[in-house]
Every structure is written in C-alpha cells, then in structure tokens.
Amino acid sequence: MAKQKNILELEDVVVKFVGDSGDGMQLTGTLFSDTAALAGNDLATFPDFPAEIRAPQNTVAGVSGFQVHLGQRKIFTSGDMCDLLVAMNPASLKANLKWAKPGATIIVDESAFDEKGNEKAGYKTSPLEDGSLDSYHLIKAPISVLTKESLSNVEVDKKMAEKTKNMFVLGMMYFLFQRNLDNTLDFILKKFSNKPEVVKANQVALKAGYNYAETVEAIASTIKIGPAPMQKGRYRNITGNVATAWGLLAASERSGRPLFLGSYPITPATEILMELSKHKSLGARVFQAEDEIAGICSAIGASFAGSMAVTTTSGPGLSLKSEAMGLAVITELPLVIVNVQRAGPSTGMPTKSEQSDLLQALFGRNGEAPMIVIAASSPASCFHYAYMAAKLSMEHMTPVLLLTDGHMGFGSELFKIPKVADMPEINPPIAPPRDPDFKPYRRDPVTLARKWAIPGTEGLRHRIGGLEKTNIDGNVSTDPLNHELMVNIREDKVMRVANYIPEQEVFGEDNGDLLVVGWGGTEGMLKSAVGQMQKAGHKISLAHFNYIMPLPKNTADVFSKFKKTIVCELNNGQFVNYLRMTHPEFKYMQHNKVQGLPFHVKELTEVFTKILEDK
C-alpha cells in the first residue's frame, strides 16, 4: 500500500521539462500545460530549443526544454527559475541546473545516467552519486527501464517502448499534481488513431508512471494548485505567433478587406506564415516570396490592389525591407509589418529574444519616413495588437510596424476567446466608384488619410509611386515647398493617431517614488517585480507602453507624477533614448540587459530597491 502523502498547497509553481531533442519534451510540456489549464490554473509557457534541428544525441547542444508557470493566481510570465526540473538525461540536467531554484525538486531518469551518458554530457563523475545535487530534492527514477517493463505485455518494438518514456514521466507529474488523465488519454487516442498498438503503449506508459509515483517513497507529498480567479468566458491556450496570425485574420474579416501575406521564412517569425497558410478557407492569400524584399513588395502591390496586406519577418529581414517600407509611407498605403524581434546584429542569436530593433523600427528608413509603431506585450496580447495594427493602418492609410519578439512568439498563455463582432469596427476609407472628388492625395481633414482607390473601380484610375507627388493631385513633383508640405503632412498624419489610441495606463498608484517604464515583451516580468514591491509597501508603479509611435497623449502627465523614473529594456537603451528625445523635460535612469534572455524578477527588484534606497 502506498503511504498517505502530504498535500502541499502552492500559489504558483514553475516546472521545466528538459531532455534530448528526440525525447518529446515539447509535447510533454504542452500536454501538462493543457491539463493544468483544464483544471483552471492560469499559466504561461515557453519552449526552449536549440537552433540546430538534430544536434548530436545526448549532448548539451541537443537539449530541448519546455517551461511552464502555473498558478492559482494571475500568471504574468513563464517564470524565471524553476521549482521543479524534470531531466531525461545527464546533458539536459547539466544545461539546466542553473535554472533550478535552490532546494528545487529534480526528477531524473536514472537509467540515462550511465557512464556513456555522463561522459557525453561532460560529467566526470555521476552527478547523482557525487553529492553535487545534495542541496536539491532529488527524485531518482529508472524511467526508461520502468517504461520498458510496463510495456512487456504490449506488442511494440524496443524503439517505440523507449519513445514512450515521456508519457511515463508525464504520468508521474500527473500524480504529483493530482491531475486527471482523461484529456491526455484522449489526445493519445486521437493522435495515433490508426496505430492501435502505439495508442496502447503510450496510454499504458502514462498510467504506469502515475502508479509508480504513487508508490515511490521519494515522492512524499503531492502539489495542489487550485483554480485561478479568472474572468468568466471561453478560454484556450495560444502562442504569440498564432495569436498574431489570428488577430490579422479577425481584422481582415471585420474590415471586409481580404488578407494578403507576402513573407519569407525567418526564425522566429515563420510560424505566422505557416499559420496563415492554413487558413485559405477564410480567404487568406499567402505568398511565400523569394526573399524578404519580395515579401514586402508583393504586400505593397496587394495593398494597392485592395487587400489588407501584411509582411512578417525578424530583425535581419526588417533591414532588407527598409527601402520598401519607405515606399509604403510615400504611397500612403496600408500595410502591416510584423517584426518578431530576435537577438542581433546580423544573424545574431536567432532563437533568442531581444528588444533591440526599436530604433530600426522607428527610424530605419531613408528620408523622413514616419511610421506607426506598436508593440505587443505577451503571447495572447499579440491578437489584440495585430488587430489594432491592421485597423490603424487601414483607417489612417499608412504602414504600421508591429513589434513582438521570439519569446512572445513561441511562448503561450491562456487566451480569453473574444467574439469578432465585439471587436472595434474597422472602416477603411475606400473611394466609391465615379467619386467626382477623387484625387490620389485628397485627404480626410481630420485624420489626413487619403482615399483607397482600388483597381477595377470605375472612374478612379490614378498613378502613385515612390516619387514625391503634389498634394491632392498626385502628380510627380520636385517643387521644394510641396515636398516640405508632403513631408509634414505624412508626419502629422502619424502623430494624429494619438487621438485614436488609448491613454497610457499606470499599474499601481498614479504617483509615487519610482516609475518603472517598459515596453513590449517585458511586461510580465516588470509587473511581477513591481507588484511584489508594491505589496512590500513601496511607492512604485509601472507604465508599460504598447503604443510607441505616436506615444499616448498623456505620457508627459504620467511621467510628471513620480520622483524618479527608470526605463527597463532588453537592449542597450533604445526606448530610453527615444523618450529623452520626445520628452526631454524628464530625467530617466535605465536598466538594460542584452543576453538574449528575459529579465528575472529578482534582478529587477534588486535594482528597484537600490534606487528607492538612494536618496
């Protein structure tokens, strides 16, 4: 009989599954997360895998991981250090031990820690025996061996038996968290519906792991994380890249303009291209171009022809698109450019995240080429900001650059499913047939947007292009005063967008000792850190920006109510310098990190504490 286990009730917990690239850690983590979500936990996930597709087996280079942060409270991030590490081989332990909190629980597949495995990972002695893990709660389980034994009555070959060890460890985790197995059993049944022996092997391994965890003495307690208080509604788990794709589809449907995507594969943006390719039933036209330039140029052509046009990329691709972005600015055509940022310069670190494309987004074009720039701040928020990017672009007849990042793109969180009909209306200024007043650059007096005259419409034949044009008539012109007028109009048009975006919100009191300023993908970490310090009684607040160009109208007002301001970014100070330029009346401190890694809550609270202590 299994001994009665203690129940450990926790607010939140960070779990990381790590193993060799072939060990199925992404699937294990995803299933674990889905089951947690069904149990009502709030959560955020982040997959961490190597750039190489199949690095040498069982080496540190080939380690693949999946981190999930779950809680019975609102979860803002996928967590920094983990409370529970599941390591399927020595290499994955070696690569990830530094991310385990002191005293963390570590579950290892003991059968993988043989001489050969240890040596491949670069361990001179077995970490399970040499005392190096003494400060952790180590659970050694011969997972591979037990999985094979559990399948002795199932007709599967050795290789398949070996492969199901991820289900065994998932079963163990389900016991540990007292989860229901039904959702995963059902998933297995659907996934392998035409291979009954594979269904059986996976299901048996899952249950065997659950039962093993129940009997083993090393697992003395189970963990209870109750449902998080969440708004009523229908939910799903979603990654940032998928949310971006869906937000664009929603904007297309709501505006009535068919979606055209011109794009070239690039990490970490490719998933948006792949996702939209699946949705031809919604009329999405997806053009996988021959290069980044053709991606944006085809999108500009499609926009001229009347589509809601999009191009997606990451930093190096954005550099290649610069000239064409200027073309979209001068032709005053709607276009959404999504830049899923990664660590640069040049190829940099493609699978690692950074916020270092901000200045390129704002200013990286020849001539005076202002552009609306907005940034999403979490995986699910990509849906809303992609939608808003498309809305602003079409209604104001100017390109919009949406910044997300690799961490957000690959990471996931729970998403409250909206109804498209409840989303804000999108009304592109389409010129009606035979409009007697139509001129290519005649404008709406309020927004300064010109009309969208779509080829095929009677009575609206016109020519536009990259050469400067006269205002209203749209004839080619090098007239000095006309050029200055057009430059100023294009600038003014973008600045007036400030009248159509929400005011900047402050997390916490609207006045105090320290205002933390952030933008984009760091919101979760900044909110967690600021929230912690607010609980401890500090007069600290957070202004986290999503609208960057133009800035919200009340920005100066927000800044003016704090004694000190610190701008935190994952770059060398791009937003802070933009603020020094746009709002020079304030003094800004800065905290920067350029390691291809997110902020950690602890590092932030230390920085903020020090500033608050300095008088």
């Binding site: 031809k280 039933s281 085809s298 499609a302 589509s307 064409a324 034949r461």
Partner: protein
C-alpha cells in the same frame, strides 16, 4: 485566349481612352515612344474595361511608363516591379497586369524577382525595355551590355559576360518569350496582343535604342537597310525564312542551328525549320533566342508560348477548395476550434 475572368468593356475603346494628361519626358528619338504607342494601340484592342488594366514599374527610364498611360499605375522601386506586380495580380486577379522594366531593373537589381515571377508563371505581361545601358543614371554598363563595350564605368571596355534575355527567361522555365525591335510598331502591337492572350508570365524583350548613351546599339539588326538580312521574323507554322530575297533560312543539323542560303549546297525550302512556338520542348526556342550576328539573324516575334498552370489560377482553386471543405467558415469558428474550455 484573353482572360475570361477580366471584365470586358461594354463599349469599344480607342487609343484616346488611355491617353494620359502627363507630358512624356523621354528624350526625342528614344525607343520608349514607340513602345508607348504600341501599348496604346493594343489596350483598346484587348478590350478589357479600362479600369481593369494596372501598369507596374520599377526604376529607370522605362519605369516612367505608368505615368504616360491612363490606367491604374504603380511606380515602384528599383528592381521590384515584378515583386509588386505579383502582389497586385495574386490579390486582384481581375486585373490585366503589365510591367514596364529595363535591362538593369529586371536583370541586375531585380534579377531575383524576375526569374521567380517567371518560374511561378503568374499571369502578367512584362515589357522589357532592353537598351543595353543604364540611361537614367547616365551611361553605365548593364547586364546586357556586350563585352568590351566602353561605357562610363568601363573606360577600358566591360569585362562581363552579358545575359542573353531569352536564355535567362527560358532557363527560368518561361512559358512566353518574344522579341521585337523598337522601330516596328506593327510587329510590336501584334506581339503585345499575343502576350496579353497568353496565360502566364509573358516576357516581351524590346530592343530599344538609347539615343543619348548607347545610340545605334542595335543598328546592325534594326537599321532599315539591314533589317531584312539580319532579322528572322518568326510566325508559328511557317518556315524560318528571311532575307531581302527570302532566300535565307534556318536549318537544324546535328544539335545546332545553321543559317543557310536556299539553293546552295542542295538546300531546298523543305529543309528549312518550321517554327513551332507552342512546343513545350524548349530546345529549339533556346537556340532561336541565342542567335545573333554576324553568323545568324536575330529572331523576332513570338519565340515561345506554351501552356502551363498559372500561379494565380492555382491560388483561386486552393481558396475555393478550402472554402468548400473546411469547417472553419469565419474567424469565430477558428477561435473556438481545437481545445477550448469554459471558465
């Protein structure tokens, strides 16, 4: 066949329907004027509604073209006309899309997009103004400038092997290629009509004189007193005969073409190759495209015109198919697909 998808004009159109109010700013004597004239001739003849033509261009002298024709027009950036036009056609297949580009725009800075639009066989018509020089930047050599030519950037003569446009187009699996001299507007109009009828990317190379920076570059082929001897005007189904006295012809011997005189060495008219522009085998088309003086005449007219599925048609088919077969009919369906739960 003209495109059934594109709406026809309910009334007959004339040249005037496409006349622009803009001053044409090409140099007097530039080959561009003849091309403009041929396009204004052929658009009414094609008969689509005048709102259903879009002209896209890149950069260079050729690329001012959209301003001179009263249609929907888009003047792009250097090298990218083909990429922009790809977007126009895929997004809006009801447009008859025409591209005006030059040798530098299409084969140097825009070389990549040029070969890929051809490979995809998107249903557009490319007017390639080949004057073998960069005109708008005032006289630097281009990718089609003959080797050894002295230009502003090759004072000792170029040391680059030029592209032969036909070779590049056919190498990229081109389905339509034609060549015309700029001083034969009648032939150009006929060929442009053929290009409009072709389903897929049609490339019409126009040997265009640049009177300022590369005058008489093609005069050995196009000059009045030489053209009959040095041009082979191809007609589908007819023998490849040329010359003032119609006594010269092209034969196939072994794996090569030869220019021969009928009556000499036992050659009779029966030995002369018959032009087949519709054969999918590109072998003879390639050889015809490469012919040049002094040993050969230059082939003019439609060299190749073969049927092949077009990208834009296949896009429509896939969308229709997906709309019929998918359960996801609207974005709400998509948002609620897969694993979701109520809280």
């Amino acid at each position: 066949m003209l495109d059934k998808r594109i709406e026809k004009s309910p009334v007959p159109l004339t040249k005037e329907d496409f006349a622009s109010d803009q001053m044409v700013k090409w140099c007097p004597g530039c080959g561009g004027h003849a091309i403009l004239s041929a396009v204004e001739n052929v658009f009414p003849k094609i008969g689509y509604k005048k709102e259903n033509f879009t002209i896209v261009s890149g950069i260079g002298c050729s690329s001012r073209f959209p301003y001179y024709v009263h249609t929907y027009g888009f003047h792009g950036i250097h090298g990218r006309a083909t990429a922009i036009a790809s977007g126009v056609k895929v997004a809006n297949p009801d447009q008859s899309v025409w591209i005006a580009t030059g040798d530098g725009d299409s084969m140097a800075i825009g070389g990549n997009h040029f070969i890929h639009i051809i490979r995809r066989n998107i249903d557009v018509n490319i007017l390639l103004f080949n004057n073998q020089i960069y005109g708008l930047t005032k006289g630097q050599y281009s990718p089609t400038t003959p080797m050894g030519k002295v230009t502003k950037t090759s004072p000792q003569g170029t040391i680059e092997h030029p592209f032969i446009t036909a070779g590049l187009v056919l190498g990229a699996q081109g389905t339509f290629f034609a060549r015309v001299p700029d001083n034969n507007v009648k032939l150009m109009t006929e060929v442009l009509y053929e290009a409009a009828k072709h389903d897929g990317t049609s490339v019409v190379e126009i040997l265009e004189n640049c009177i300022i920076f590369n005058d008489k570059a093609f005069s050995s082929v196009t000059a009045r007193e030489k053209r009959e001897e040095n041009q082979l005007i191809l007609k589908h189904g007819e023998p490849m005969i040329y010359g003032k006295d119609k006594d010269m012809g092209i034969i196939l011997k072994g794996t090569s073409l030869y220019a021969v005189k009928i009556g000499i060495g036992g050659i009779t008219e029966k030995d002369i190759l018959i032009h087949d522009q519709f054969t999918p085998d590109p072998g003879i088309h390639r050889m015809l495209g490469r012919m040049m003086g002094p040993d050969y005449p230059v082939a003019m007219g439609v060299i190749r015109s073969v049927k092949s599925a077009t990208y834009d048609d296949m896009v429509e088919e896939q969308i229709d198919m997906a709309k019929k077969s998918s359960n996801i009919k609207c974005v709400d369906d998509l948002l609620n697909s897969g694993d979701t739960w109520e809280i």
